[in-house]
Symmetry: C2
Subunit: 429 residues, 2 copies
């Protein structure tokens, strides 16, 4: 049932009243350089912030075995984080409303060369409407909004009338194992909202993502005998060419896929990292390449994994050097499938009304071709998993920034969504 | 004047008599993992070995300013070695013969992945005729031979009748600044012999070598926006393609160059090392590539350096992404020119007779397309600079190895060469 307009206005005013504090909290979060494996301190910060607000707290580690057995579990590499997952649990006085998970991740991607940034990457500078910083948009602004949308209700004496789990996870940028772990621990709710930076739109469909590394090894030698040798760096690039053919084939397969066929290039292969050779005057005998590729909803990670291996193997067989040195393909991260948020759910209707109430505009939806933790809740809990968040620029790039005006609008949407989805009750005196 | 056959036989027998000790010494040298910058301890080992034999010792550092002013001096990068150069000086009782420099280098190239080696790279294993180990062939076997060819004379009561400088240098694998420094310090002689692994042949002509690094930088982004971005790793490969065109043009220019036009591919461009990107799911914004290219004798390093810069710049101008992100070219090592050993010198005639005496075969000569320190003595001292040494396999590769039978033969050649070139005198009682 739509919110009473008076309540709606009180909630939005309360978001406004708390917004200066919300920005300060977001900036504190950005100051933690929480790249992969280094999320311990920011998770402790979130833990304390939730406990201080009266949540019942749960903090737990990944269960590698359980994740390994799950079809959406990603392989554990040496660089896998062992930072804990933090969940704050709110129980209403009387459970009259629907339950909800508000989720976010605190891990951020590497900054790249610091000198390419206008400001130091973990210095949360504000210029005009933009708040700068690595991980500010993706997604500490959303993480803070998860707390501050509930604070906005509390400020006017209200709290959700259903159970709310506030989940702060890690490994969203590399495996998705953090979100999966909350599912494996048994957390579930009637809907999930993740405020990733999605341009104030709702994610209708999302690709899965696979990470893999391939390594070429071969006989090295002195450059004086170069003609007899084979350069592993050159060979690696030939393998990249073969993988680009697979990417093109996958993009041709968009035909007949509702949320993908109108997108110019829905499946992206990214050559993200390369390292090879030791010495300018030695023909390189090794080259490692880190790749990331998308997959359509309905295609299993295993199927695409096999296609990647088959493509590399077939190419290698026909290549004079590689046939003697078949490249090794290792899946070392994301092993995740895509999802579609089927239109027509009550959760989406509630979010649409909340968005209209906060922004004055109709809610649009779109397909996004990057990994999202919502896949865990959509695929394995089979509940409406809403990914919706603020306007941003340059995520995964330098000068990452999030719009503060947009952040306020989406926090308003979130507060209205919680109030209508869970219902509200007065906080006990 | 050719050596008396009886003396020749006594000298060769003496080489034979000392060979077990020579192998043991060579193996000791191989145990030092003297990659660039880590040559301090092996240089101290050589210093002690020379002093123990009665040489007058000189040990000195590089003079960066003097090297910087010299046209054959290479730029100093952060990885430049600061290990000392060691020279042992032999003065005869009466200076009746010609002077000689016996030179070698102790720096070795990186091993690459240790698991690609049959034995650990710095473990000097002997199997049949082969002595294995990184830097054994290139060129610790030759470095030991410099001492043991003189030991062979001493064992029969003789020593050179001319001044002999035994030089042990560093930076031969990266800049050639070590050899240049001996020249700048004033060392000079009537001839130079460097026993690099040259298949028991004499180097007639030798390319110069330039090292350079180029770096591509550009706007990174999330893969979801990949079409708008530009991948620095892909862009780096396009630059490599342009450099391959320059390599092809240089190889076409072999026409009319006596020692090069019959060689299939005299100028090699090696893509030796690559590094780029930080994260599989971020479009890479940087990629660095380390290259090495040869140049003909008579072509100046400056001329080729300008052609490299011009090629990269012209290519970048025509490339949508690179025109906004022109790659930086940095010359970070070898800046050396090639040389020709003109036939007809007395030094070559003496070496030919010594080779015939030791191996029973006529001395052959050839062109080699890798850097050699002989260039310093050929180009700047303008004396016969003889590069001649043992049979080897896999230098700069894994399972580098040197033939012990060949090492004995070339040590015999060297001892005969010293005896005829410098003359001999009895050691004072």
């Amino acid at each position: 049932m739509p919110l009473d307009p008076a309540l709606r206005d009180r909630i939005l005013s309360s978001v406004e009243a708390g917004f200066a504090e919300q920005i300060a909290f977001t900036r504190e979060m950005i100051r933690f350089p929480s790249t992969r494996g280094d999320e311990h301190t920011v998770q402790d910060f979130i833990f304390r912030a939730l406990r201080q607000r009266g949540f019942t707290m749960d903090r737990f580690a990944m269960d590698r075995e359980a994740i390994g057995r799950h079809p959406g579990g990603a392989p554990f590499s040496d660089t896998h984080s062992d930072a804990p997952i933090v969940v704050g649990i709110h129980h209403p006085r009387e459970e009259t409303g629907r339950s909800l998970i508000l989720q976010s991740h605190v891990d951020v991607v590497p900054t790249g060369p610091a000198e390419l940034w206008t400001h130091p990457p973990f210095d949360p500078v504000i210029e005009g409407d933009w708040l700068y910083g690595r991980g500010g948009a993706d997604m500490k602004a959303g993480g803070a909004a998860n707390l501050y949308c509930l604070d906005a209700l509390r400020r006017i004496g209200l709290q959700p009338a259903g159970t709310v789990y506030v989940q702060s996870v890690v490994e969203e940028e590399s495996t998705g194992n953090g979100a999966l772990m909350t599912h494996l621990r048994g957390y579930a709710a009637d809907a999930v909202l993740i405020p990733e930076p999605e341009e104030e739109m709702l994610v209708r469909a999302n690709t899965g993502v696979l990470w893999f590394q391939f390594e070429v090894r071969g006989v090295p030698m002195h450059v004086r005998e170069m003609a007899a040798g084979a350069n592993a760096i050159d060979a690696a690039y030939r393998v990249i060419g073969a993988l680009r053919e697979l990417e093109a084939a996958l993009n041709r397969e968009k035909i007949g896929r509702p949320h993908f066929e109108d997108v110019a290039h829905p499946i992206n292969l990214n050559i993200g990292k390369i390292e090879g050779g030791d010495w300018a005057s030695s023909v390189p005998c090794w080259c490692k390449v880190d790749c990331r590729i998308g997959l359509y909803p309905g295609m299993s990670a295993e199927e695409l994994g096999k296609r990647i291996e088959a493509k590399v193997l077939a190419f290698a067989r026909a290549d004079a050097f590689l046939s003697n040195n078949p490249p090794q393909v290792v899946f070392n991260g994301f092993w995740s499938e895509g999802y579609v948020l089927e239109p027509g759910s009550e959760a989406e209707a509630v979010l649409g009304r909340a968005h209209q109430g906060s922004t004055g505009k109709a809610l649009k939806s779109f397909m996004t071709p990057g990994y999202l933790d919502t896949r865990v809740y959509a695929l394995y809990d089979k509940v409406p998993a809403l990914c919706y968040g603020p306007i941003s620029e340059n995520i995964h790039a330098f000068d990452e920034r999030v719009s503060l005006a947009s952040l306020k609008r989406i926090t308003g949407t979130m507060a209205l969504f919680v109030a209508e989805w869970c219902g509200v009750e007065a906080i006990a005196e």
